[in-house]
Structures are given as structure tokens and as C-alpha cells.
């Protein structure tokens, strides 16, 4: 049976570039540029380690998000945002709202306020859920060190961040529908793709819009105003620098040894002495003695008696005589040394003494 014509006959099984916008693609070895940028943001203006991200930082990130990304103006006038997370401390409220309060110290409409639900729940950030047990520390960076003597590097380790969900109610209170519309438009545009990001100490923290509720007071006999509640879930994480661990890794030691300028072998010098006797040699005549050496020595004349002059031959070759007294003669193992003297006129026996310094 023939194959259908539309079947692919040439399938390229060579993997293509995973991230084509990088010059060489991501090959698992070279870190993509963008990832390096993000890493730099995390450790910017500090140590090689990331900075702590705790509850207050997430709250600040949320306030910044509302201030900047949900900034709303109507008729050229910005709707003020209370730039604090309101807490139980009563007197603190006015200190945050005095700039747009009336003479009764009530906040003037319109305004936007961010209220955090006090309970912070375990997180639903999918990147961090229940993957590593028991707060195990993981390699984060290797940092070169130099303490003046030792060159090495420290291994920085951190545990997996703790995912948390923080719920914020962002409320707009106003008197006009167009203010509501404007704020609503900005929020919905921002969350068209379900999530938006706030930026906390170099980390992009996602948040989603959970719900939009209306709490407007539209009563016949009461003061009327609009109040809408936008509930956001910030899918953050906690990084606590108290949990970081820095451990020294391999270090290389440069050891420099200084010493005195002297030959430490002097004390270990081994010397022997050999005396060549010429007892029966008549005065004024020549006499010879030989010796075969088994070690390497330097031969130096020490003393002599009734010797007018001498010559030294090594393996039959003249090497030294009485004119060069004091200059040692080097003897190699198995050399045959012949000492030839001319005796003085005295009838006393003649002898000549050599010191043999063993050369190592």
C-alpha cells in the first residue's frame, strides 16, 4: 500500500534553538542574557545573595503597584491613594490621610485605600509548591574570596523560598460613576491576561484579580457614595536571609618560605683522612703511592713531612701538584689516585696527609 502523499517524509530530528532570540539559543550551558539580567536585579546593591523578602516587603510592593500601575486620574486630578497599609493603630490613620482630609478630619472623596487581610495563607505560586522538604539548603552562588593569604571561594546556599498568598482589598470610594469607570477600566486592562506583576527587591511577584465587589451605599435617607472592592491575591514568597548559609569551599594556600643565606649541609659534612707513608724512600728521590676510591670525594692537602714537592694523578692523568696546594681535587668513585712525592734530604720518614671530604 502506498503511503499517503501528505505524510512528512523528511522530519528534522535535530533540535532547533529553544530560545531563538538568543544568538546561539539556550543550550543548557550558557545562561541566557535575560536570566542573567534578572539575577543581577536580585543581587543588585548588595551582597551576592538575594535580599530578604518578607511580609512588609510584599505589602510595600502591593502599595507601589496600586500607586503606579493603577494610578487613576479624572478630569486631570489624581485620585489619591492612602500610601499605607491601614493597621489597628488609631492615631496613625490621620497621619496617613491628613493631606486629603476635611476640617472634620474625614477623608475627602474620592480616594483609594489598600487593606490587607491579616491572615497570610500558604502560597499557591506554582513554581514553589511542596517540592523540597525540610528547608534544605541549596547552592546559590560561588563567590571568590581572598583574605590576604588564602585564595578560594565561598559557597552561598539558601533554602527554597516559602510561597505565600496575601489577599488585598483595594477599595475605591467616590461620588461619581465616571471615577468608578476609570478605575475599573485601568484594573481590568491591567489584568487582561489574568495576572500582573509587582516588583519587590528584584523579584517579579505575580498577582491575580480574584473578584470585584460593590459595597456602595445607595440609600434613600443616607449619604450616598460608591465603594467598590477589588480583591487581589498576591502570589508571593518569603526569603529570609537569616536562613542563608555561607560555607567556605576549596581554598588555595600560597606558602612562601624564607631562610638564611648559609649552607645547611656544612654541619653534615663527612670527612676522612688518608696518610701516604714513604718510610724507606731515600732523601731527594721520587716515591709513589696509589689508592682506589669508592666514593666521590674532594681531596685536599692537610699536612706533610719531609716532602719537597708532590703531584697527584687520577687514572694516570696529572691533575694537581704542590704549586696548587689548597685547591681541592675532585675524585670520582672507582678513580685510581696516584700520589708522587720528592723527598727532602732528611733521613726521617716522609708522609703526606690528605683530607677527603665526601661529596653528596
Amino acid at each position: 500500500m502506498a503511503l499517503p502523499k501528505k505524510n512528512k517524509k523528511n522530519i528534522n530530528i535535530t533540535p532547533s534553538q529553544v530560545q531563538g532570540h538568543y544568538p546561539y539559543g539556550y543550550n543548557g550551558i550558557v545562561t541566557p542574557n535575560r536570566r542573567e539580567e534578572i539575577s543581577d536585579l536580585i543581587s543588585e546593591h548588595g551582597t551576592m545573595l538575594p535580599k530578604s523578602v518578607l511580609h512588609a516587603d510584599l505589602d510595600r510592593g502591593m502599595l507601589d503597584f496600586v500607586q503606579k500601575d493603577l494610578r487613576t486620574s479624572v478630569s486631570g486630578k489624581k485620585i489619591p491613594v492612602i500610601d499605607r497599609i491601614l493597621t489597628l493603630q488609631r492615631w496613625g490613620e490621620f497621619s496617613k490621610t491628613w493631606s486629603f482630609s476635611d476640617k472634620d478630619r474625614n477623608v475627602s472623596l474620592p480616594f483609594v485605600v489598600v487593606v490587607r487581610k491579616p491572615d497570610v495563607q500558604p502560597g499557591s505560586n506554582p513554581a514553589l509548591q511542596y517540592t523540597i522538604p525540610d528547608r534544605k539548603q541549596f547552592h546559590y552562588a560561588k563567590v571568590p574570596t581572598w583574605d590576604g593569604n588564602r585564595k578560594g571561594y565561598d559557597v552561598y546556599k539558601i533554602p527554597q523560598p516559602v510561597p505565600v498568598d496575601v489577599i488585598y482589598d483595594v477599595k475605591i470610594v467616590c461620588n461619581r460613576m465616571r471615577e468608578l469607570n476609570q478605575f475599573n477600566k485601568i484594573v481590568l486592562q491591567k489584568f487582561t491576561s489574568r495576572q500582573a506583576y509587582t516588583f519587590v527587591k528584584g523579584h517579579y511577584i505575580p498577582m491575580i484579580l480574584s473578584s470585584v465587589g460593590d459595597e456602595s451605599v445607595v440609600d434613600t435617607e443616607e449619604r450616598r457614595y460608591y465603594q467598590q472592592n477589588y480583591q487581589f491575591q498576591l502570589q508571593g514568597f518569603l526569603i529570609d536571609e537569616e536562613e542563608f548559609e555561607v560555607t567556605p569551599a576549596v581554598s588555595r594556600v600560597v606558602t612562601l618560605i624564607g631562610g638564611e643565606n648559609r649552607n645547611s649541609k656544612v654541619n653534615d659534612t663527612i670527612t676522612t683522612k688518608t696518610t701516604f707513608h714513604f718510610d724507606s724512600l731515600p732523601p731527594g728521590t721520587f716515591g709513589t703511592k696509589t689508592k682506589q676510591y669508592t666514593t666521590k670525594v674532594d681531596l685536599t692537602l692537610m699536612r706533610s713531612s719531609n716532602v719537597d714537592s708532590y703531584d697527584i694523578y687520577i687514572n694516570g692523568v696529572w691533575v694537581n701538584d704542590s704549586q696548587n696546594t689548597g685547591i681541592p681535587v675532585m675524585i670520582n668513585p672507582n678513580d685510581n689516585v696516584k700520589v708522587e712525592i720528592v723527598k727532602e734530604t732528611s733521613l726521617e720518614p716522609a708522609w703526606i696527609l690528605f683530607q677527603e671530604t665526601v661529596v653528596r
Partner: protein, 170 residues
Amino acid sequence: MAKKIPITRISKFFGSEDFSLEQDIGMEWLHGDMHFTMVLFRVDKKLSDVDDVYGESGVEEIRYHPPVEFNAQVEIADPQNKSYASGLVNQMEPGNMTINVYIKHLEELGVDISYGDYIGYPENETTIRYYVVTNDGRVTSDMKHSMGGYKAFYRTILCSFVNENEFKGI
């Protein structure tokens, strides 16, 4: 200077002289005869050291204006017997305090009582209880706070008890 509007209500029977007389009689009774004395601790919101995110201060970080003694009519509710954990960890503490203070008295002292300020009330020779202002009674538009509808002359201030974790006192 803000515009001043003359009050001519019930002028046939009552005027500013009558208002002042009645007010002075009342103040003499309250301050002279009753003589309920309290101490007002006004929070210095400029000098207090507050947190950037929450605007909160620790007990030692709150700064106060100089304390001011003032007189007022005082009512303290029955102590409340509560618990923190569904019947466990019992908590017995004073009830809320309601004070009525002459507006003129505050003006003479040159002070204002604001939401969140602290008030000390000497319960006996050795114990001072401290309360935080939960309603500073700033708005006195109602008839009750006026003298026959002529003009408001006192403020009703609601306070709730605070422990040393919030305010240490003196």
C-alpha cells in the same frame, strides 16, 4: 480670617450672654464640685517614628506632646470579662469610658482631643488606667450637644481601655 455668622436662634429668650452664663455655671460645677481630673496624652504625629509600610510605631517610638490635665464628666462601663481563645485565656479589663468635656475648657487649655490620643484616669491612689480615644466627638451638630439648640458647648468622647503593650503611661 474666616467669616463669622451671628447666631440669632431663640434670641428672644436666649443669647450669647445667657449661653456664657449657663456654660460658666456648668463648668464651675463640673470643675469645682465634681473635679474629675484626667490627663491627656496627645500623640505627636510628626515626631513619632513610624513604619514606612504600615505607619505603625512601637511603644517606645511614639512621641507625645506635653501631657495636659483636664476636667470632664466621666462614665466608665462595667468591666468586661472576655477570653482570647474560645473561653480560654481569660481577659478581664475595664469597660469603655465616655467623657463629656466642655469645648470652652479645651479652648482655654489650648488643646484638642483627637482620634487615637490617650487619656489617663486615676482610678485610685496607686492605679492609673489608660484609654485610647475611639471617637473624638469632633462633630457636635446634634441638638443634644447644644444648649437648647443655640450652640454646641461640649463634646462626648468615647474611649476604650489600652494595656501597657500599646501605651505605657507614666
